[in-house]
Symmetry: C2
Subunit: 229 residues, 2 copies
């Protein structure tokens, strides 16, 4: 605990707690910081932005309730674990809003550096295990990680639906970019992808999403643009 | 959606989303309110109280990392699901701080009424499933629910450790009541229970917990009371 910025360094555990458990509790104390990392998404239930810990909990509940829509068989417990750990690196790397192109440029480097700093606080076996879970989520090459990513893309769409567009109205957002996020839902679940498209289509009708379908770049469109059927 | 206080009633989903999925998404939108239910516990990472959604996420991470300490074999995925859903009824019933005796008097009635209102928003099969998960957690009679309760008791102790006692300093708290919560940790994990006792013992030495061991009622003790070895 040489780093004074670490939460566990503020008050070392009593000597009666052995080294392995102390390391695990230290990591869990440091993980408290995820509750302070704000996302771009507004809550549906209050007039403030969502934090990463709340978001991760919401995804876990979505996995439990929506697993029937996964396009491939998934291990629900493993998928829940993926979403619980998927944003931990943002404790040091910060959130990289999807419609903020600048923040996405060096996102991978920042998150790799954060993983190098964060996971080794754990005992070696669990450090490797959590790193592997994070890498699995990021790669999105297993049925579980595809579904985890699907709910990660869907959840902010659901919040946007109750916020007159929410992040769809951010300066960097456009219909093409919003549809690209919906494609990430479809990659794990065609049913949830179709539902997401239905929300977006209605959002376009209401003027909540800028740009016209098929355009290569965002156009600032006043009011609700007409949409091809 | 006859109740205008329901989040999903604010903006019904497009007709293209079928009835079952609409009910599930409506429940998930209403569940956003868990992010607004404040607990008594202070965060370790910021100067504010924790909310139920953050707390539930933290428990899920604790289950994933501390499952090796369960005194009986547990299904980790099932245990994570228990902690993800265990506080949902507080959306309507509110939090009942453990050291606030008045709020605990009618807690069970309030939470039963909340369950009757909340879970039927889901399709019948999932309404029954979530109710059963909540009842399982509350009863604490399975290995998974005993371990879920253990981390539910341990997590605020960990936050208190980084807040010079935190809720241990609440007016209604006393050493006997704090030790009773630690017994709930021990019931699921003797190792985590012993670690919790070590935190409390040190907290007593520092004057963070009122009352002397073995006393039947809380005594207001100034400074650090002496403790039997």
């Amino acid at each position: 605990m040489e780093d004074p910025d670490l939460i566990p360094a503020r008050n070392p555990f009593p000597a009666g707690i052995d080294e392995r458990l102390s390391a695990q509790l230290a990591f869990l104390a440091e993980a408290d910081k995820l509750k302070t990392i704000l996302r771009a998404s507004p809550l549906a239930a209050a007039d403030r932005r969502e934090n990463d810990a709340e978001h991760s909990w919401h995804l876990a509940l979505m996995v439990a309730l929506l697993a029937e829509y996964a396009d491939e068989p998934i291990d629900i417990g493993h998928t829940v674990t993926l979403v619980v750990v998927h944003d931990l690196v943002e404790i040091y790397a910060g959130d990289s809003p999807v419609y903020d192109a600048a923040s996405r440029l060096d996102q991978r480097e920042r998150e790799e550096a954060a993983a190098d700093r964060l996971f080794p606080m754990l005992p070696d076996d669990q450090a490797r295990e959590l790193r592997a879970l994070w890498e699995e989520f990021e790669a999105g090459e297993t049925p579980e990680s595809r579904f985890a990513k699907a709910v990660d893309r869907l959840e902010p769409m659901l919040l946007n639906w109750f916020n007159e567009g929410g992040t769809w109205r951010m300066p960097g957002a456009s219909l093409d970019k919003v549809r690209a996020r919906a494609a990430g839902v479809t990659a794990g679940s065609s049913t949830l992808g179709a539902a997401t498209e239905a929300l977006i289509d209605e959002g376009v009708q209401r003027g909540w999403v800028r740009g016209v379908p098929g355009a290569d770049s965002a156009e600032d469109v006043e009011g609700a643009p007409r949409v091809e059927p």
